[in-house]
């Protein structure tokens, strides 16, 4: 009896591990995208259309509703229903929704490598000839472009920028100001350390944070956009001496962090900065909202790390990327109305509403930011824009560039690897799927 029970339980328990990986139906959906079939939605009589828009931003539902109210007012007959799902489950929910008949008309999709599966499965509508993207920051369109067919499948909505956040109160107390040269940068950090503060908060236990840190301190050293161009063309690779030197700079920075930084989780590093034990937080613009809510009294500043000696770039660089795009379901019955809405999402009006309501950086050019820190970040990015290569270009296969370099920097911090070794591992890792010049 007991034997039988345990045998059954054994099958059951072991089988559970498999049930996690079952996407829904596998029939290849008919992906006819001929726009003529959308029907005659002529504008003579006002036709009632309800467009559903899916998103992973559960925290922004009301804000998006306010944004879409503006559109609904200008377009009688159109109702936009904004639905948000749990961020961590969104990819599965969306993939399943796009396969069936009850999917959304439009949806937020992940950027760059994150959207390729939907594109390859033919679930998104190519919008090259349907949407006017002239107001969108052109470098960001890659986020919604098919890596294989080069067609555009959406309009990016948000961008992130990398820089150093600092606590102006601590800077004043220590008597230092934003550094403008590499030597000043080292002096500032030394002075902060001497004053008993941790100069930099870094959560090196969370590997995803490390390529971000590398971009912040090293982008100017390896040469940002110029290097990226050569990397993609195949005339340089990650083992290039300038790239190796940029990883070496990351290693030198451990002098300005707490000991055993690989044991510090990301969340703890945020606490270090918010609580005022650390003076600086190298990180993405997505931190801003959290810092301002958690430490409302902190006087927050931002700056870019000055180019280290030997730098390829003669000015500091701010790495940026698109955070996601809005795309149209290839099977939507309301294609014309959806295209109209997406066109609006590519307009300055939407960009400004997005910036004002969501308080993030819009992908639309010429948007004005009221928050002084956001404004400053926007200016930094405009002065020295580059792209976060390991996210923007190196997430189209397995392993992703950011995973390999993240783990590599952890090994380097632990003394188990060298900058050359990390660069070598990165090059080897991405070489399994990345072919330059393609």
């Amino acid at each position: 009896m007991r034997k039988r029970i345990s045998a059954l339980g054994l099958i059951g328990v072991a089988a559970l591990i498999l049930s996690g990986c079952a996407p829904a139906a596998q029939d290849s959906a008919d992906t006819g995208t001929d726009s003529g079939s959308g029907g005659d939605t002529s504008s003579e009589t006002v036709e009632e259309v309800t467009l559903s828009v899916w998103s992973w931003r559960t925290e922004d539902v009301e804000k998006y509703n306010r944004i879409f109210d503006v559109y609904e007012e200008a377009n009688p007959g159109v109702t936009v229903e904004f639905e948000a799902f749990l961020n961590t489950e969104y990819n599965q929910i969306l993939a399943t929704g796009l396969e069936g008949s009850d999917g959304p008309d439009l949806a937020m999709v992940r950027a760059y490598g994150g959207v390729q599966a939907l594109i390859e499965a033919g679930q998104l509508l190519a919008v090259d000839d349907l949407v006017d993207t002239s107001d969108v920051e052109q470098s960001l369109l890659a986020a919604a472009t098919g890596i294989n067919d080069g067609q555009l499948y959406g309009v990016p909505f948000a961008t992130q920028v990398l820089q150093v956040f600092y606590n102006k109160g601590i800077f004043d107390e220590v008597g230092v100001t934003e550094p403008t040269t590499w030597d000043e940068f080292l002096e500032v950090n030394q002075a902060i350390e001497d004053a008993g503060y941790t100069p930099m908060a870094l959560g090196a236990k969370d590997a995803w944070m490390l390529p971000i840190f590398h971009e912040i301190v090293g982008a100017a050293r390896f040469g940002g956009p110029e290097f990226r161009e050569e990397l993609l063309a195949g005339t340089k690779d990650f083992t290039d001496p300038d790239y190796v030197a940029s990883i070496e700079i990351v290693n030198q920075m451990t002098d300005f962090m707490v000991d055993d930084v690989v044991g510090i989780p990301y969340a703890d590093s945020q606490v270090q900065f918010i609580s005022g034990t650390a003076a600086q937080f190298p990180g993405g613009s997505f931190e801003l909202g959290n810092f301002q809510t958690q430490a409302p009294d902190m006087d927050l500043g931002v700056y870019l790390v000055p180019p280290p000696p030997g730098s390829v770039s003669d000015k500091p660089l701010a790495a940026g990327w698109a955070d996601g795009s809005f795309s149209i379901n290839a099977n939507t019955p309301n294609q014309d109305a959806a295209v109209d809405l997406l066109n609006w999402m590519a307009s300055p009006e939407f960009g400004q509403l997005f910036a004002d309501e969501i308080k993030q950086f819009s992908a639309i050019k010429g948007v004005e930011y009221t928050d002084p820190v956001m404004k400053e970040i926007g200016e930094l990015f405009a002065a020295g824009p580059t792209q976060y290569i390991n996210l923007v270009d190196m997430r189209y296969g397995d392993p992703t560039g950011s995973t390999v370099i993240g783990e590599g920097i952890q090994r380097m911090f632990l003394g188990d690897d060298t900058p050359e070794g990390v660069a070598q591992a990165l090059q080897e890792g991405i070489s399994t799927w990345f072919t330059p010049g393609s």
């Binding site: 054994l10 990986c21 290849s28 044991g263 703890d268 296969g397 783990e407």
Partner: protein, 311 residues
């Protein structure tokens, strides 16, 4: 033998009635376990573009796991950690569980209280336990290092989760902390099932203390030991929530806490590869077959061992 026959007679009922009783469970089992299992198996033999199934590619997904980076290095690394979790659990968690069960069996009074206390962590979600311990062990704010420093054991203070040499042992420890109540309860029940006559007869024959435990109690616990070992094995091979809470999906630091389930999670849900459904399905299949195969062999070996002991 006699009791077994009796059970068999009692349990006999018309075939149709029996089937009707089993049917609802069988239906649920088929829909939620067997069907996904079969689909995962079929997925693993195909190429994928997102959720769009491509051509039949035979064992290519499996070959990929063994021949291309990052899988060819991540797989042995993760597998080795699973084995380590199993060995660690057998050594610490289960022997401690046995020890506790023996002591509790002896004390009688307050037994319930202690049993409940030791089994309590087992009722908390392992994800919560994992996050709790990663806070306790935090080198910046964690009380553990602070206490070590304050009692003069400064040299013992250590970034437990940041050092690849200690991180996986921290996972073993946290798992043991949570699950020690489970072997304790099973052994406790088995100890309670040893007839007093046997115990008393042994004492009359002069077997006391360690000798009695070695010659009488322990052999009679073997069936429970078998069950505990198999369940521990399955648990260690499927470990996910605690390693995830402690080291994130990449098994930080630098893959030192990576396990098979984390690798599966990364491949299935965090990969940039459009064919990830195929690769991750084959990984899940491999893990399933390994767990299933070893569990069957273990079960068989144990039942043979039991037969030899009891005749």
């Amino acid at each position: 033998m006699k009791t077994q026959k009796k059970v068999g007679k009692l349990a006999r009922m018309p075939f149709l009635t029996g089937t009707m009783f089993v049917l609802p469970a069988l239906l649920l089992f088929s829909v939620f376990i067997l069907y996904p299992l079969a689909t995962a198996l079929s997925y693993s033999f195909f190429g994928w573009k997102g959720t769009l199934r491509g051509d039949f590619i035979g064992f290519d997904n499996y070959l990929k796991l063994f021949s291309t980076p990052p899988f060819d290095t991540a797989l042995p690394n993760a597998f080795q950690h699973n084995i380590l979790l199993f060995v660690g659990a057998m050594l610490f968690q289960n022997s401690l569980g046995l020890l506790l069960a023996v002591f509790l069996h002896k004390i009688g009074r307050m037994k319930r209280l202690f049993q409940t206390m030791f089994a309590m962590p087992y009722l908390v979600s392992p994800l919560v336990v994992g996050y709790l311990w990663s806070l306790l062990l935090s080198p910046l704010f964690g009380p553990i290092n602070l206490i070590l420093k304050q009692v003069g054991l400064e040299s013992w203070a250590h970034p437990w989760l940041g050092d690849p040499n200690t991180a996986i042992w921290a996972v073993v420890f946290i798992t043991a902390w949570q699950w020690v109540g489970f072997p304790m309860l099973l052994y406790g029940a088995a100890l309670g099932g040893i007839p007093d006559e046997v115990s008393e007869a042994a004492e009359v024959d002069g077997a006391v203390g360690v000798k009695k435990f070695r010659m009488i109690t322990f052999p009679l616990l073997l069936p429970a030991l078998g069950t505990v070992s198999i369940l521990t094995f399955i648990g260690a091979m499927e470990a996910f929530p605690i390693p995830y809470a402690v080291g994130g999906s990449t098994g930080a630091p630098a893959g030192a806490t990576d396990v098979m389930a984390l690798m599966f999670y990364r491949t299935a849900f965090e990969s940039g590869d459009v064919g990830s459904i195929g690769t991750s399905s084959s990984l899940a299949m491999l893990l399933f077959l390994f767990i299933f195969g070893v569990a069957i062999v273990l079960r068989y070996a144990l039942s043979r061992g039991e037969k030899r002991l009891y005749g």
